[in-house]
Each structure stands twice: as C-alpha cells, then as structure tokens.
Symmetry: C2
Subunit: 494 residues, 2 copies
C-alpha cells in the first residue's frame, strides 16, 4: 500500500501528463490556424478553442487539484521534477482568470482599432483601447505578489524568476554599452555594401536551401514539418512534433527559418523522462527566445557558419556566384539603426525592447500617462538610436503586441540575447573548438552541449536555475556585451 505522499505524487504526475495533452491540442490548434483553417471556419474554431481552454483550466483548478496543491504546501517535495510540477500548477491556480478573460475580450476590439489606427497612422484612434488594456493589466499586476514594483506582477507571467530590478540593472548596463558600440561603428571608416538590394532568386531554391541549412543544423524533419505563412511561427505540438513556418518573400527571411528551427531544436530535445511527465517543449519567455536567437545570430551569422554554407548557397542561387564570402558575411552584419524592430540588425535590435520595457514600466507605475506615450517613445528613439520618428506608424503603432494585450512581455527579446551571450561564454570554455566544428558542418558538439545543459530539462527548471547551474552566475550583461564588442570590432575594424 502506498503512502498518502506517494499517492499524491502520482496524482500530480497524472495532472501534469494531462496538462501536456492540452498543451499539445493548443499547439495543434495554433498550427492549424496558420496553415490550414479556412476563413469561413474561423468563427466556429474560436468556439472550439474557448471550450478547450476552459476544459483545460477547469481541470487545473478543480477542487481535487486545489486540494493537491494544499497538501504539498504542507508536505515538502524533495525532488526537482515534482517540485517543478507543483510550483507551475500553483502559479496557474493563482491566476486572476476573470481579469484575463476580460483582457481577452477587450483585445478583439483593440486589434480592430489598432489596424484602423495603423492604416491612418493615427495613435489617437488606438489610444482609448490602449488605456483600457493598461488598466486591466494594472489590476492583473495588483493581483500578484509584486514586491515593490507593480510591473513585477506582469513580468512574472513571462519571466518566472527575474524581477524588474534585476532586468533594469542588466538593461542599464547593456544600454550604455550598446549605444557606445553604435557610435563607434558610426564613426568607423569601414563602410559595408548592402549586397541584398538587387538580389533576385527563385523562391523554391531559397526554400530548399533553407531546409538544407536547418536540417544540417539539427532540425529533424521526421519530428516536424514546414509551413509557409506571412508571419514566421513555431508550433510545439508534442515532445517529438514541432513544426515551423516561414516567409520567403525576402532572402534575409532565411534567418527567420533558422530562428524558428532554433525554437524547434530546443522544444524537441526534452529527455524521455521529462517528456513522459508532460514537461516537454521548453520554458516560455526569454529562455525560449534565447535559444532561437542563439541559432539565428550567434551561430547563424558567425563567419564559421557562413563559411560552411556559402559555397552551397553560391551553387544554388547564381546571384551570389561573384560575391565573396567576406562580402556576404559583412553584409548580413551591417549595423544601421532603423525604426522597425523586426527588421533591425543584431546590435541595434536590443534597444527596441529596452525602450518598450522602460515605457511599459513607467506607464504601469503611473510615472507617465497614456497621453505622453507618443512623445516619450519618439524621444527615446532619438536618444538611444539617433532616429527621428516621422509618424505613428513608424513609432508607437509599429506592431500589434499591445493590442494583443501583451504588457510586461517585451523584455524577453533582449533578455534572450543576454542569456545567449552568457551561455556562449561558458560554451566556449567547455567546447573550445565549437566554431571550428561548425565550419566543417558538424553541429553535434554545439547541439549536445545545449541539450546537456538546457534542452533536456524541458520545463523542469526555471531560466535562472539553469543559468546558474551551467554558467555559475546569475544573468549579467557583460558576457553579451563582450560578444558584441568582439564581433563588431573585427567587422568594423574598431
């Protein structure tokens, strides 16, 4: 006969396994929405989606599930895996569902308003909806254990173990370093040609090449699929089923495919033990982003990576025949401040989420008002990036995230890069020849190290737990700054 503790551990496992099944359905519904769902099917699909979400949530917050959490509040769990299931479940049970449903409903109108405002490049149209979104988010934040900063109550939805204070510290150091680097680059005598301006190619050749690249890199097509859609996207549908989509309207979108396959390699690499208990797929937020950005930038835009793949690219896309590897490498790494985050280079990119994070924090904590947002936005773009924002479409309306209700999320992108830099520092100590191997097309040393230190654990550990385990310290800006300075000093001869 099992003890009560053992029985409850079993119940915890069952709940986590079923949670995995609902996540799998959510992944499939998401994937289908991008690649399959016909327009006339949308209305009914939203009913089905709502039903499944409520079934999922009802299961996780049922009387039995609440009792289970109460039991483990008073009976400490000794092992990491079950402790992790317990704390994830507890977080979900604490969520202010009513407020989140309110936010969900509001975003339907807010998205329509954003589209209208974007078309007319007029923030005033979107402003009242943004105000409501901010107000509900404030209430959601108040619901949490905020420890000083109200913004912590929002950030914790995405970063499970980083506080606003910690993020601010990292960002402040990063900001100074990056702005300095940009100024150095701008005064460099090196001027790089944009070889992509007149590029022509057959789309299918690009698609085939992109598949060749990511499969060499380690994306297993037996565990995934490729879709083609406007907005690149990764759908994690099961422990061994993670599908990516891409857009091939532009050559540089190949880096989008590399990015998504980075997400996929992470998501597909949970150990069997972890996968079996429903903890597959990887941690959400900045750690997932870090794995995608790592493959895209730190690996994908390195000279060694280019060196291995460029001859094949030249074979497949005749345009590149007379362009040297060096020209190609420099051109994909041109640094040039640009108003639009998603088309920015590796260096200036980081400032966009920092600006957004600062504005969000100040508005949630009532240091600025909705009416000030446009002015603050434009001033920060001038100060950090030296850009004059010409209109709302280039500025405060540039993407739809706020209209989707996402406040407290933006820092994930830049944090992802910072994680990447810190992991890279340790990777180069553990596997000094990692780039040399990539230059020969061998991604095994890289992938094994990432699996060993990060991927295998699925959703068991928090980002900070993993980071400290592997690198020996909490998140620091310096490693990523060192990486950027070193790489761009060579390119721009600083």
């Amino acid at each position: 006969m099992n003890s009560l503790y053992e029985q409850n551990i079993k119940k915890l496992e069952e709940l986590s396994i079923k949670n995995g099944y609902y996540m799998s359905l959510g992944g499939l519904l998401g994937w289908d929405q991008w690649v399959g769902l016909p327009s006339n099917g949308v209305d009914y699909r939203s009913e089905v989606q709502g039903f499944i979400t409520s079934q999922h949530f009802n299961m996780l917050t049922s009387k039995d599930a609440v009792k289970l959490i109460e039991y483990f509040d008073n009976n400490e769990i000794k092992d990491d895996i079950h402790k992790s299931i317990f704390s994830q479940l507890k977080r979900i049970q604490r969520m202010p569902t009513n407020l989140m449903e309110q936010l969900d409903k509001l975003t339907v109108q807010a998205q329509a308003a954003w589209h209208e405002a974007y078309k007319k490049s007029d923030f005033e149209i979107f402003k009242p909806y943004l105000e409501d979104i901010i107000n509900i988010n404030k209430k959601i934040a108040e619901h949490s254990n905020c420890n000083g900063h109200l913004m912590n109550g929002l950030v914790e939805q995405y970063e499970m173990d980083l506080t606003v204070e910690e993020i601010t510290e990292v960002f402040d150091e990063l900001k100074v370093g990056i702005i300095k680097l940009i100024k150095q680059i701008q005064s460099s005598s090196v001027k790089i040609n944009d070889i992509f301006e007149n590029l022509e190619y057959e789309k299918n050749d690009l698609i085939d090449f992109a598949k060749h690249v990511v499969e060499t890199m380690g994306y297993d097509s037996q565990s995934g699929a490729y879709g083609e859609v406007l907005h690149p996207y990764t759908s994690t549908i099961g422990p061994r089923d993670c599908r990516i989509t891409a857009n091939y309207s532009n050559f540089k979108n190949i880096y989008g495919t590399i990015h998504e396959s980075g997400h996929a390699i992470y998501a597909l690499n949970s150990s069997d033990k972890v996968a079996k208990l429903g903890l597959w797929g990887g941690l959400s937020g900045s750690l997932h982003e870090s794995q995608a950005l790592f493959y895209e930038y730190i690996i994908g835009k390195s000279i060694e990576f280019c060196s291995y793949f460029y001859p094949e690219l030249q074979k497949r896309l005749p345009y590149f025949k007379d362009i040297s590897l060096k020209e190609y490498y420099k051109s994909i790494n041109i640094v040039q401040p640009y108003y639009k985050r998603i088309e920015s280079d590796e260096v200036t990119y980081n400032l966009h989420p920092i600006i957004r994070f600062e504005i969000e924090k100040d508005i949630i904590e009532e240091k600025i008002k909705i009416d000030d947002i446009r002015e603050v936005w434009n001033a920060k773009y001038k100060e950090y990036l030296g850009l004059d924002i010409k209109n709302d479409r280039e500025g405060v309306l540039q993407d739809i995230h706020w209209a989707l209700g996402a406040v407290g999320f933006f820092q994930s992108y830049t944090l992802g890069n910072v994680y990447g830099g810190q992991y890279l520092n340790t990777l180069l100590k553990d596997v000094p020849n990692v780039y040399k191997e990539i230059e020969t097309g061998n991604f095994k040393p890289l992938n094994s190290w990432l699996k060993e230190n990060i991927h295998q654990y699925g959703r068991v550990y928090t980002p900070t737990e993993l980071l400290v385990k592997t690198t020996g310290e909490k998140l620091k800006a310096k490693h990523y700054l060192n990486y950027l300075n070193k790489k761009y000093s060579v390119i721009y001869n600083l």
Copy 2:
C-alpha cells in the same frame, strides 16, 4: 422561471453543442494525421487521441447525462431537433464501451498481421486475428437489440434505421438486375477503347483542373482546403470547415476528388440553426456515401457533366486534344468486372459490397466458419462477377477494413448508390432541367435541391426519414436499377 422540461431541453442542447466541439477536434486530429503529423509524433499523438476520446465519452455518459436521458424517457420531446439529440445520445450511452475498447486494441495487432499476410498473399497469417475480431463483434452484436438477426446489432452502428432484412431484400433485387445487365453488356457488339492506357500529363495541371471542376460544382475553398495523400479522405472539422485530400498519381483519381468534394458539399450545407446546435456534418454511413457517389457517378460521369468540362480539359491536358467527347465519355464508363472493388466501374462495383455483406452476415450468424471464408469468397466472385480469384491478395485480403475492426459496415457503399438512384428519380421530377443546367455549368438547381431535401438537416433526421419525406417511399432497388439500365443501354447499345 423556466419549467424543468425547458431546463432539461437547454441541458440537452449544451451537451449537443459540446459534442460538436469534440467532433471538430476529432476531425482536426484526423486531418492532421494525414497531412501534417511527422512520423516521430505518432506515439504521443495516440496518447492525446486516447485522452480526448475518453474525455468526450465521459461527458456523454456522465451521471448528469444519464439522468437527462432518463428524464426524457419519461417526458416525450415534441420537436424533431431535440428528439434527434436525445436519441443519438441514448444510442451512445447504450454502447458496449469495454468491448469496443477491446476491439480497438486488437486491431493494432490485426493490422500488422494483415500487412504481413497481404505481402505474402497468405490468408492463414491473418485468419486467427480475423477470428478474434469476429468473436468480439459477435459480443458487440449480442449487446444490442437485434430483432431476429444477430447481424442487426452490427449494422445499426452504421445504418441507424435499416434492418438486415430490408437490406437483404434490396440487395437481392439489385444483384439479379446487375448480373443481368453485366451479361447484356458482355454480349454487346459495342467494344469501348480504354483511352487512359497511354495517358501522360503534368501532375500540377491535373490538380488545377480538379480544383476547377469541384469549385465549379460547388465546393467552396473558403470553407475548406486541399491536401495530397495516398488515400483520398474528407475531414469535417466544423460546420463551415471541411477539407479534402486526393491522390493524383492516376488521371482517374480526379473522380476521387469529385467524390470527396461530394462528401464536403453535404457536410458544409447544414442550416445555421442545425449547425449551432452541434448537429452539423451530415449523417454517417450510407447517406454520406450516397452524396459522394452521387456527385462522382450520377453527376460526374454523366454526358452533360463531361460535355461542360471536356473542352476545358482538352485545353489544359494536351493529351486529350484529338480525342472526342464521346470517346472520353464512353471510356470513363467502360464496364469490366475486376477483382478489386476500389478500381471497379459504376456497375460491377455494387456487387463487391454485396458479396462482403453476405459473407459477414453468414459468419456472424455462424452459417459459415472462418475456415470457409476464402472458399466462399472465391465462389461468389465467380458466380456474381465471373472472376477467377488467383490468390488471397486479390481475394479475401484485398483491403484492410476487417483488420480495422469494421464488420457490418460494407453494405454502406452499395446502399449509397441505391439511395442516389432513388433521390435522382425524384430530383428529375422536381427539377426536370437539372442535367441541362449542368451542361451549361450551372450547378445551382442541383445543389439547392440537395440542400433543401437532405443537406440542410445535418444529423437531425435518419436516412429513412429523409428519404420518405422527399421520395415518398422507403429504400427500393428499382430506381437505381432503372438508372443503370437506361444509362448503359445507351452506352452499350443494348
């Protein structure tokens, strides 16, 4: 304050609506299994599928759901829609779940055994598994209200309101008529050339042409999608989302696309009222098959249909440039007994399911033994079709249905044709110019009539209720026989 009756009617509706959501998920999982699921994702998917199936079934057989059915057992429902929800739910609650789960598990091994047996063309390898499948099916049949024929307990899973006696009566008449027609055709002096033997074409041209045909016919691509897979298949995923797959390895497969889009036109045509209550998608079994076969044969292989589309086909596939419409029409209607059901012509096709139905009935009712099946099969193919079956692969092992556990299902195919013939007889009285309109590319009169009389009702009425409402009589073989005799008398100059 609502009465208890009204409250329970409301509960019935809620259950039906949620049942629709689970059907939608089932449809999506099925579609994904054909067009998206990577091979490494199969194991986990079967866990997810099992979980969803059990959630679905648990909902329909919960204490509350059982109480609801008990209430309506004692309080008659007056309107057709709620009466239909009630009787469908009651049927599900009566199902012998344990036995069906046993059968499900058994079919995993049985399928593997069938593949092995098929490869070696040796029925002996598959026989012990077939024996187990038959035995469980007998138990399932015994669980039902069989009214004399044990086989009724299986047939009712697929035909909700036709008995073995009624089917046998229809089939006996049909068999005599069709065998007579085949003999007449075989002694006709008309010999038709098979123009498809040397056909060459670009696959994409065929795919585009197939889409052109089915969209002209009435399949709305805004409510669907096209997939390409080995086995043609229709996935009904919602009231306005029904997707088809096809195989274009052979020109004649275009009729497969027409067939699947016939299923889809039916499935997409439920009225809003019916769809809202979860009763969308159409009746399973022979009525659904009848709609697909109607578009494929009775419409799609008519001279008027060919006459409208053939010039376009000649434009797109140069092979047909020098072949006349008449040659094309005759060639797609060649009658020639063949051992394989799925590659048979419109006339001889019908005998295959009849043979299978007769064998299944006799084995379930213990008039023949498993050991006799091969001999009985080959004797019937000789008697009805004049064919000498050379080996098990051509004979008793020719398809996987039995290994999938499907016993009591095969009559649906031929019954589908018989329904089609009877509906055609009334259609021609109600809309005498229907074929003339098709000759001009106008499918509206046809589609409106089918929607009005069949499609709009979704799963509200049983096949016989619908048939009697529209044609004034129960299922009869004579109308379909008349149709066949008339059509093939012209083609073969009988």
